[in-house]
Symmetry: D2
Subunit: 276 residues, 4 copies
């Protein structure tokens, strides 16, 4: 037997599909020898002129107003970090401690976003998209609650294991409502009301729910919800990766119960206030 | 043999290190029952007030000026997308085509950033950091060029396989220099000059080089360079993931040579101009 | 404001859950200062004595017979590679071409396993687990087919876009049936029969379906199905990563339609046979 | 402006390289309409006949003897798990706890393999490959030690933070030497000897060092070293993912210091022996 150059890597019959690759097209970006056009905008012209959230056109197709860009920016800020005890931050720090690469640390953190942490904004947006424009939000919330329960799931966007109240969510809802009609805020509050009735105590809208309200009012495809959160949070994951490599002993056992904060002082927050 | 509850998962001798986990601290974020403080700033107050790039303090520790935030924003915009033929976009689209999850698509794209694509800003920043404040940039460029060659590597930040000239890089250098002294721009131009002399034809500063100039002038730790690029580019990767799932036949063979652009029209760019 | 050492990273009220971490236990592995016991077996004694598939006990808890280990090994061999045009191999090769790290290439390939490629064995196992021990497999196949259609999904384990017939699947079914009762083989064939009736032409059991039969007959939890495939295929992904770095021009555009095979010659397979 | 179908996604000048994709070839695998040939072997014939480690030919090109396959199998068994406190297992379990997908959990664990954990076998193999066939191993060990120190690195394959003695490594060295000449074992022992002289106390060859000896004697390209370890360990990571999802409270805080073992009993190992 000898070498057989020229033999295709898939020896299909003429009707086989393996090496027939159809022409395809994209509406996102076209490049030339010296320029990159994103949704028709030359990046060289956008640099220094447009804000990063102003590039919302990349996701939505049409131009964003300044108000819309500001709201997307608020969503990124709201997602930016939740401290070193968040599962994704622990994963990124653990990867940093073995001296694996920065991109491994970032990708590992992103892979930690599951249906209970981070990757829940898209699902919340899909539910909000079904809210009636004019109609009984209470009945809609009841139906949504029952449908999720029947599927063995909880309503996304409501409640948090650490926060009885989450001021980030409240503030983001406020910002979103100032820039749009309050329809989706009313819808998510109806869901929270429904869950509260079920548990017998007030359960707040959480940050995922507030993000879903803001992003839905921006007319984004729900598919972008989890990506938006991931991009904002990546800023924080990077900080944890770098701090771990600079401060942490290599291969240390990271005990989440033994973490303290030694950063910039915060009035009204001190060691004595810790209940334990 | 019977079950042995109460047996530690590592049965170390008293001097073993396996389950001794030292106390540790972080200066990044502290959370309370209702708030999240990032570098001392309450996120609920920052939402709607601070821009996303204005959160530069999360990486640098100290407060950013408005000019600095604008420059970081310009870096994110410059990184945002490079079309569907970029290796990371092809990976994200391939993952989307198998209907693997959005976070898998994003993580896969990020893992594609290697020393030849994306993950090169940090290395360029480390070299720029060695440029003399007052001194012979030509001699420094010569020495840098020789050191990389001796290590079997190319100088990062110079040249691009597609672009003979890259207007994104030119524009970003312009924006960076308007907001800082021109020291790092001069340094990267000295490196490009050195490479051009070596190849015998003009080789431009590329987008990685321009990012390195901007981020170094922002006094960022070089470790953040690759993260900044990854965060900006994630915005584009998300668009490719969603477009592939909406337009592409599942499991299609993605042929990068068969891609066309059918988005917003661009004056002066049309089918006739294509040389082939 | 001054530094505040000693402040907990989560300032929870005494009822907060953030830094209360419950004791937990594992039944998998315990380590001592000089040994590692996996499901009660000392690894140092297993090395050189037990085969890799013989470590089935790690997944199942109880000891595997030699026949069972051989069947698990056959599943790993069946999964080992499907050539350079498979989506996961293309992703791993693309990552290799940017000179990102080997573990990035492997992880990227694994992230390509989605519901249409690779990560479908678990789902097929869950369906097979519902097949009646004594009963009408035809009725069960009808019901399974309809339930999947109602959910907008296809039955896993049946059909392949390239292979009209897949000898790997046939052989693995043969091996599995020789080592167990034929119950699950009969079930998967009933599913294929049902799909064939729907499409009007014969559709074969594919490799995912054959793996599901083999692994179910090994009494494995269906959750392990996708992992088994991923581990077997990782062997092939490693080969593609290394070959790409050794043969491929860095950052080359990888055109899946332009791949040929130049390895060990195969009688009856040559360039002339290629229909195009 | 109107749509422009037919415009290439990269508008290159005729000399641009963006959408020129060279023909390429692979020596690994070729597929036909009904078969898959790996290094010339039909997979359908290998299934049930060849062992998984017997597929060594996929990595090495030439056929493996039974002894060689057995040694590769011993390497996979030696790598299979190191308990729940290993960084990669903690990452996989953390990802499982957020209910992210199995492939995310596996990829995250693999991304944890860094130069201090897991991804060190390749480096150890590269050093062993420089050992003189006939010559002064002591002088070679001295030179290797000094070169690593000069580069700010430690010799890979020597010492472990938990194990003063590692019986897995001892056993694997024994198995490897029984199947090959003892040249590489002698080399790694010379390195351990050199490190011991430096630290003033005996430092053992660790599992990475033993793997490097075994894989080098199998004439594998060093590039495969880290992949081999990752594939073996993936078996254990899968067990941790599944156990976490079955036993662990969702989103629990995973405290590595609070883990106990409640699996199969092990004679001589009990709660009383724990020194604390």
């Amino acid at each position: 037997m000898s070498e057989q150059p020229g033999v295709r890597a898939h020896q299909g019959s003429p009707t086989g599909s393996a090496h027939k690759a159809a022409a395809w097209s994209t509406a996102i970006t076209v490049t030339t020898d010296d320029r990159v056009f994103v949704r028709g905008v030359a990046l060289d012209e956008a640099i220094g002129r447009d804000s990063f959230p102003g590039m919302l056109r990349l996701w939505r197709g049409d131009e964003a107003t300044e108000d819309e860009a500001a709201l997307l920016g608020a969503c990124l800020v709201a997602s930016i970090d939740h401290g070193p005890l968040s599962p994704s931050a622990l994963v990124t720090r653990t990867i940093a401690s073995t001296r694996a690469s920065p991109m491994s640390g970032l990708a590992g953190g992103i892979l930690t976003f599951g249906e209970l942490h981070g990757a829940v904004v898209t699902r919340a947006m899909r539910i909000l998209a079904t809210a009636p424009a004019d109609g009984d939000l209470g009945a809609w919330a009841d139906a949504s609650f029952e449908r999720e329960r029947a599927a063995g799931q909880r309503l996304p966007g409501i409640g948090h294991r650490w926060h009885h109240r989450d001021r980030r969510a409240e503030r983001l809802l406020e910002v979103a409502s100032a820039r749009s009609d309050r329809r989706y805020e009313a819808a998510v509050r109806a869901l929270a009301e429904r869950v509260s009735r079920h548990t017998g105590k007030p359960v707040p809208v959480n940050i995922d729910g507030a993000l879903a309200v803001a992003l839905t009012s921006l007319r984004l495809d729900p598919a972008f919800g989890d990506f938006l959160f991931a991009i904002g949070r990546s800023f924080g994951l990077a900080a944890h990766y770098v701090e771990e490599q600079q401060r942490g002993r290599p291969m240390r056992t990271i005990d989440p119960t033994a973490a303290s904060y030694d950063g910039v002082g915060i009035p009204g927050l001190n060691a004595q206030e810790d209940g334990r």
